[in-house]
């Protein structure tokens, strides 16, 4: 016999109610809070007991707003009023943080357990009789989101800095492109003059005056070209960290005087007055004389270039504590304040209009800065602005830079000093010289220069041919190119130095090469040449080098 249906249903309802109550009270992974319509607590589950530290016997029957007065302070009693009016309210963690001030079980960085809360009305027969509050602990989720947010911010900062780096590299590329355009223009300008005037000369249509003028123009432009190329090579060395100093004891006043003499014609042609003030009894400093001269020359030619006709340039040299200070002030076009910080940057000129008006690659000042820094000094520029002139100040330590271990030691450093000691009209009289170069023009040029000084010149167009000539002619002196098709200059000097002394193995040898880098120079000297002369070479420089090595004119 089966039981009546109502009894089964009511048994089941009782069971279900008991189960739900048990679950709610003992097992629910959330806080469950029940109140009556007066907001007196009628239900407070195990979860709330454990986390709030309040036992249900301590809270049951008490008013919720009296137990937690800060609910009113934080306006949350309104949500309970809404619930009593039949509305469901959701309280998000982001807006409210928490409902009940409970300490967090984990993530102790939070003052209160972070909560997500739903408050619902409890209705019976269409009337609200109380409220049901469900509280979820979302502290861990919140901490995780904050951490994620932090990572996202870091990522977006990284992204921003990447963008900036890309922008900077694009700017650097743009400057390089502009620079290349300037180079090709600057290199072409003197070439145009050289080719044009050389063509006129060759035509033979020029009279003596015009020919002399043509030769002078060709010379001047070739010098300008040489200067451009040597600036470029310096920059290349600087970029690859291969620029090394030859440290000696330098008499700075005489270096400055020499430079002043060198730029005097240029200044005179623009009627620029150069005034120099040099302290007496100036100490010698440790540095690279050629590079120091290059620094001063660059600054002086810049000053002259950017100073209008009739202007003045002031050069001062003084001692400041353990440093020397060179300042060069001009009355020129000045520098705009926004360009000042970039004055020493590579590939930069204030604007391309300036480039067009004044020529040049904009490398001079960057080379100055690098050279000064190699001397462990500092370079500064001041200008009151456009049209107000500029002052460049170089400071160098008297003690000089600490040795970097490797420094250039070459014979060529002494050549200019020896020029003075060279008196004879035919200093190379009777000297038998073998000239090796694969280029006809170079051979002819060197032969012409040396024969003018009284030497007997034999030429060879390859290393192999030179070795044959060496054995048959027994020259007193060897001048050889290094880079040649087939066997090169290194091979040649190797074979020569392998000979016995009586076969000419000890012959003075000079390398004349377009390989002008320091590394090339060192390799040339190690391979057995005594002198390394970079192309292009001045006739006097060549004569002095040969004479000094051959022991003539000393």
């Amino acid at each position: 016999m089966t039981e009546p249906k109502e009894e089964v249903d009511s048994d089941r309802d009782a069971l279900l109610n008991a189960a739900v109550l048990r679950w709610m009270q003992e097992l629910a992974p959330q806080g469950i809070l029940l109140t009556d319509s007066a907001l007196n607590v009628v239900g407070w589950n195990r979860w709330l007991e454990e986390r709030s530290g309040r036992r249900s016997k301590d809270v049951l029957g008490k008013n919720l707003l009296a137990l937690y007065p800060d609910l009113i302070e934080r306006g949350l009693d309104a949500s309970y009023k809404d619930a009593l009016n039949g509305q469901v309210r959701l309280l998000s963690q982001r807006f409210h943080g928490y409902l009940l001030p409970i300490a967090p079980t984990e993530f102790k960085g939070y003052a209160h357990m972070q909560q997500s809360v739903r408050i619902s009305p409890l209705s019976h027969d269409g009337k609200v009789v109380g409220t049901l509050t469900i509280i979820d602990d979302v502290t861990e989720r919140t901490a995780r989101e904050v951490e994620l947010q932090g990572q996202i911010e870091i990522r977006s900062k990284l992204l921003a800095s990447e963008k900036l780096a890309r922008k900077e590299s694009e700017e650097a590329n743009r400057l390089k492109d502009e620079f290349l355009a300037t180079i090709s223009h600057e290199l072409r300008t003197p070439l145009t003059a050289i080719v044009g005037w050389a063509t006129l000369l060759r035509s033979g249509d020029l009279d003596a005056n015009a020919s002399a003028r043509a030769a002078e123009i060709i010379c001047r432009n070739a010098h300008a070209q040489t200067q451009l190329i040597s600036d470029l090579l310096d920059v290349a060395r600087i970029v690859s960290n291969k620029l090394l100093l030859t440290l000696t004891s330098v008499d700075l006043p005489s270096v400055i005087q020499m430079t002043l003499d060198a730029v005097a014609p240029e200044a005179e042609s623009k009627k620029i007055h150069i005034h120099s003030t040099i302290e007496p009894e100036f100490p010698r400093i440790s540095g690279d004389a050629d590079r120091l001269q290059q620094i001063i020359w660059n600054l002086l030619s810049n000053a002259i270039k950017f100073t209008p006709i009739g202007g003045t340039v002031d050069v001062r040299l003084r001692r400041v504590d353990s440093e020397v200070e060179i300042s060069i002030t001009d009355s020129g076009i000045g520098i705009d304040p926004q360009f000042l910080p970039h004055a020493f940057d590579r590939f930069r000129q204030a604007n391309s209009a300036t480039t067009r008006a004044h020529g040049g690659l904009g490398l001079g000042l960057s080379i100055v800065r690098e050279l000064v820094e190699l001397h462990q000094g500092s370079a500064q520029v001041h200008s009151e602005g456009h049209g107000k002139g500029a002052t460049f100040i170089i400071r160098l330590p008297i003690a000089g830079p600490k040795s970097t271990g490797l420094s250039e030691k070459t014979q060529s450093a002494g050549i200019s000093d020896k020029l003075a000691g060279l008196g004879s009209q035919a200093p190379l009289d009777g000297l038998k010289i073998l000239v090796v170069d694969d280029e006809q023009d170079t051979r002819d040029f060197v032969r012409a220069v040396l024969e003018k000084c009284g030497s007997e010149v034999t030429t060879a167009s390859s290393a192999a041919e030179a070795l044959g000539a060496f054995e048959s002619q027994r020259p007193d002196f060897l001048i050889s190119d290094v880079g040649m098709p087939g066997e090169d200059g290194y091979w040649l000097i190797g074979r020569v130095r392998a000979l016995r002394a009586d076969q000419g193995g000890q012959i003075p040898a000079l390398a004349l090469t377009a390989y002008a880098r320091t590394a090339d120079r060192l390799r040339v000297l190690r391979s057995g040449f005594q002198i390394h002369l970079p192309k292009p070479v001045e006739p006097t420089e060549l004569i002095v080098a040969v004479a000094s090595l051959a022991g003539r004119g000393q």
């Binding site: 739903r118 209705s123 989720r141 919140t142 989101e145 947010q149 911010e153």
Partner: protein, 203 residues
Amino acid sequence: MVLTDRQNDALAELINIAFSRTGAALSELTGQRVLLSPPSVSVHRTTDLPIALARYIPGEVASIHQVFAGPVAGDALLLLNYEGAMELTNLLIEEPIPDFLDESAREVLTEVGNILLNACLGMFGNLLQVHVSFSVPRLHLESLDDLVASLLTGEDDRRYALVVSTAFQVRDSAVSGFLVMALSVASLDRLLHEIEEWEGRQH
């Protein structure tokens, strides 16, 4: 189905009162001035909702959904397009959030929807003088078609949808949103009837 001008004006006026309460509640909650622009009201067949709203909600829709039951029953929803949901959250919590809706952001939107739906439904309840019970609000992210399909699977026939368009105005920004109430014919008739009565009492 087309509302008469009188019904339209009365509905808009009533809803505007609920909106101003919503704005005040959100302003208090967020500490910044939040306004809801005056509503514009229309009625559509629920099946036509995708056509009516597709222009404004082309992609995923964020909906805050509360079911209400009682003598008048139906579904009440606040709809925002995904970008709008992101923007609204950003505007209201005034601190950067990730470029997606994390759980906290979803909860914020749910609370905002809850406040708006409570204000509107509460007012209708008072007007009709009936007790309406609400479900807990839930946030869904889905396509408009899927959303409408879910509205049509209900037991009773919610054939009509009252659509109220508005915009949340926070600082200098405005985020468009739609309040949608899907109702049975009987519920809608009763609502419109009561609204006309109310309107008559105002004059």
